[in-house]
Structures are given as structure tokens and as C-alpha cells.
């Protein structure tokens, strides 16, 4: 096969495009939307997290500012959630974290309500006030139980 500069150029373009597409899939589509390190790492402990999973978004006033890194059980058998948010974010230490649902059938995410203190949360801090996921089964169960007690 004769060497041909034009063909080599086109082939090089193809390989670059192919590798670029693989990189795009890995980094943009598959990877994290907030770059690995350098973010503010915060913890929150919940009694009930519902269907919250790693990579779920963390939002303030509906704006996504970070994501859940991991969910694990602590020694008191409560769910400890590690999340990473934008490093530039200044959150008062009395901010609260709650687990909400996007729409009726949507995924669960962590909604942060900023507090009013002057001191700010630093990396590694824990949210003092948390609000567990709302479990519809538990609500219905409580309702049924309560109405049963009333009728007796």
C-alpha cells in the first residue's frame, strides 16, 4: 500500500474523533458533573433516606450545587450521607438538609435550606438539622393505625 498523506490525515482525524467520542462518553456523560476533589465535603445523618443513592443531586432553592458521594450506616444504625458541594458555597452552620422528591415519580435528592448564622460550614462538617425522606407507606400506615385507635 502506497503512503498517502491525505489518507493518513483523514485516518488521523477519524482516530481523534473516535477517541474524543470515547472520552466524551466517559467524562461528560458517565462521569461526575462536579469535578472530583476540591469541593466542600459535608455530612448529614438521617433516620430514613428512602431511595436516595450515590450521585443524587444536592440542591439549594432548586439549583443543583453538588451531589451525594456515598450512603452508609453509622454505628447508631442511622444513614450517614456524604455529599460534595461547590467549594465556593458559603452555608451558615445552622443550615438544614432534607430529602425531597423531584415531582411525583422523580428521583430523590437532598435539598439544603440555608440558615441565618454568621459562621459558615467548613469541609468535613455535619448538618445539625436534617429532615428524613417522606415515606408514603409509613404515612398511610400511621393514618390507618390512628383511625383504628379512634374507632375503638
Amino acid at each position: 500500500m502506497q503512503p498517502s498523506p491525505v489518507r493518513d490525515l483523514v485516518l488521523g482525524l477519524f482516530v481523534a474523533a473516535g477517541l474524543g467520542a470515547i472520552a466524551y462518553l466517559s467524562i461528560q456523560v458517565g462521569g461526575v458533573s462536579y469535578t472530583g476533589d476540591g469541593g466542600l465535603v459535608l455530612y448529614a445523618t438521617f433516620d430514613e433516606i428512602g431511595g436516595l443513592k450515590a450521585r443524587a443531586p444536592v440542591a439549594i432553592a432548586g439549583v443543583t450545587v453538588g451531589q451525594v458521594r456515598s450512603v452508609e450506616l453509622d454505628e447508631l444504625l442511622r444513614a450517614r450521607v456524604e455529599m460534595e458541594v461547590d467549594a465556593a458555597l458559603e452555608l451558615p452552620i445552622d443550615s438544614s438538609a432534607g430529602i425531597r422528591t423531584q415531582g411525583l415519580l422523580g428521583d430523590q435528592f437532598i435539598a439544603v435550606d440555608p440558615g441565618g448564622e454568621i459562621d459558615m460550614l467548613a469541609s468535613g462538617d455535619e448538618f445539625e438539622y436534617t429532615e428524613s425522606a417522606l415515606s408514603i407507606e409509613r404515612l398511610i400506615g400511621r393514618f390507618v393505625q390512628d383511625s383504628g385507635v379512634d374507632s375503638e
Binding site: 500500500m1 503512503p3 489518507r7 493518513d8 483523514v10 485516518l11 477519524f14 482516530v15 474523533a17 473516535g18 477517541l19 467520542a21 470515547i22 466524551y24 462518553l25 466517559s26 461528560q28 456523560v29 458517565g30 462521569g31 458533573s33 450521585r55 443524587a56 443531586p57 443543583t64 423531584q102 415531582g103 411525583l104 415519580l105 422523580g106 428521583d107
Partner: protein, 257 residues
């Protein structure tokens, strides 16, 4: 009795072909690491497989993505879940449709051409000519072709998925009015690197090896006649397509990707 005999012979020759294919694969693997490396021949084959398949792969990708967006939207909107359109389109493309459709397209476009080329070299005794010059045809002709298929497939797959995501975005967001941010966020949240993207690359690498092996084997073992060339071409497309779909099930069942 005669039918039974024929059936038995079919089964017997299928097993024999499997065995020969394994030996053939071993020979290709051995010739891959054996110098001299035919880089220029490899580049030429990569051009034939990759660049010449590019147009059909990108066009099909955009079309498949657009159809997925349309179909997914009409189904999801019944449940009021059109906000998950990005996740539906992205997951089905990355996990399943991307690697499988790309492999089927490349089998038809490049695999058949590969088999026909080798088969006509058999017919015109070019491979015997190479052997007379003590050049191993597997080293000179077969290995660069099979390797080019293996290398080109993941890249074509990634390009297919990229164009399909673009097509889905075009229909879902621009045409049907799903919010662009919601579409992209639900897609990026649903697709994970270690599960879905690694899985799509694994699938396309295996499919590439499979198509490369089948195409070169069918060409190399074809009869030295014009009907042998056509049989090798048809056989590559038929065997290749069936093998891709079978392996797709096996990979999905084994690794859950």
C-alpha cells in the same frame, strides 16, 4: 435416513468449523505480536473499516437517537414522566443499541467487504503467491484486517452513541419541548462510568474481535471460485449478525451491562 445423515453432517461440520476458527484465532493472536509489525497495512485497513464506515454509522446514529426520543416521549408522557426522557434515551443507547447496531452496521459495511477481498485473493491465488515468497498470508493479509476491526469498533460505537444522543436531544428538546437542562441532567445522572460506559466499550471490543474473526475466517477458508466469494460474503453477514446478537445476550447475562 438421508435427511438424518445430512443433519448429522451439518452438525459435524459446524463443530469442525468452530475448532478451525479457534486455531485461526490463535494464529491471528500469535501473528499480532510477531515482528515485523505491518503498521502501514494496519493503517490502510483501519481507513477501510473506520473512515469508510463513518458516514453510515453517524447517519444511522442520529436517526436512531431521533426515533428513540420520539418513541420514548410518546410513551413516557402517558405517565407524566417525560422528564426521564434523557435517562431512557441515554441508557438504552449506551447499554444496548449503540454497540449492537454499530456492530451490525459495520458487519454489513466493512465485514462483508473484508471477506470478499480475502476470498477473491484466494480465488485468484494471490495468497498462494504470498506463500511462494515465504510471506505468511495470515501475517500479511489477515492480521491487520482483524486488528483494524477490533480497534475501529469501540471508536465507531462511541461516535454512534454521540450522534444518537445529539439526535435524541434534537427531537426531545428542540421539537417536543422537554427542558434541555432536565434532559441532560437525567441522562448524566442515570449513566455511570464503571457500569454503563465501561460496559459499552467491553461489548464493542468483543463484537469487534468477533466480526474481525468471522470475516477473515470466512474469506480465508472460502472456495476458490466466484460462488465461493459470494458464499463468504453472505456467510460473514449472516454468521456475524447472529453471533453478535448471541454474544450480546451472553455478555449482558454475565456482567449485567
Amino acid at each position: 435416513m438421508n435427511t438424518l445423515r445430512k443433519l448429522g453432517f451439518r452438525a459435524y461440520s459446524f463443530i469442525v468449523h468452530l475448532g478451525r476458527m479457534a486455531v485461526f484465532l490463535g494464529a491471528i493472536a500469535l501473528n499480532t505480536v510477531r515482528p515485523p509489525w505491518r503498521l502501514r497495512r494496519f493503517a490502510g485497513e483501519l481507513f477501510d473499516v473506520g473512515v469508510l464506515s463513518l458516514a453510515i454509522v453517524c447517519l444511522s446514529g442520529a436517526t436512531v437517537g431521533a426515533v428513540l426520543g420520539l418513541q420514548g416521549y410518546t410513551t413516557l408522557t402517558r405517565f407524566g414522566a417525560e422528564n426521564s426522557l434523557g435517562a431512557v434515551v441515554g441508557l438504552s443507547l449506551v447499554r444496548e443499541l449503540g454497540p449492537v447496531l454499530t456492530a451490525l452496521l459495520v458487519t454489513g459495511r466493512a465485514g462483508s467487504a473484508m471477506a470478499a477481498e480475502i476470498a477473491s485473493m484466494v480465488t485468484t491465488e494471490q495468497l498462494d503467491g504470498l506463500r511462494m515468497m515465504s510471506i505468511d498470508p495470515i501475517h500479511f493479509v489477515v492480521t491487520p484486517k482483524a486488528l483494524a476491526m477490533l480497534v475501529a469498533m469501540p471508536m465507531l460505537n462511541a461516535l454512534f452513541i454521540g450522534f444518537a444522543l445529539f439526535g435524541g436531544y434534537l427531537v426531545g428538546v428542540q421539537l417536543l419541548g422537554v427542558d434541555g437542562g432536565t434532559y441532560v441532567t437525567s441522562m448524566e445522572n442515570a449513566i455511570t462510568l464503571e457500569d454503563d460506559v465501561a460496559g459499552t466499550l467491553l461489548k464493542s471490543v468483543i463484537f469487534g474481535a468477533l466480526v474481525g474473526l468471522i470475516a477473515t475466517y470466512r474469506g480465508y477458508t472460502s472456495e476458490a471460485s466466484s460462488s465461493g466469494v459470494s458464499a463468504a460474503t453472505t456467510g460473514t453477514v449472516v454468521t456475524g449478525s447472529v453471533a453478535i446478537l448471541l454474544f450480546d445476550y451472553v455478555i449482558t447475562a454475565l456482567w449485567g451491562v
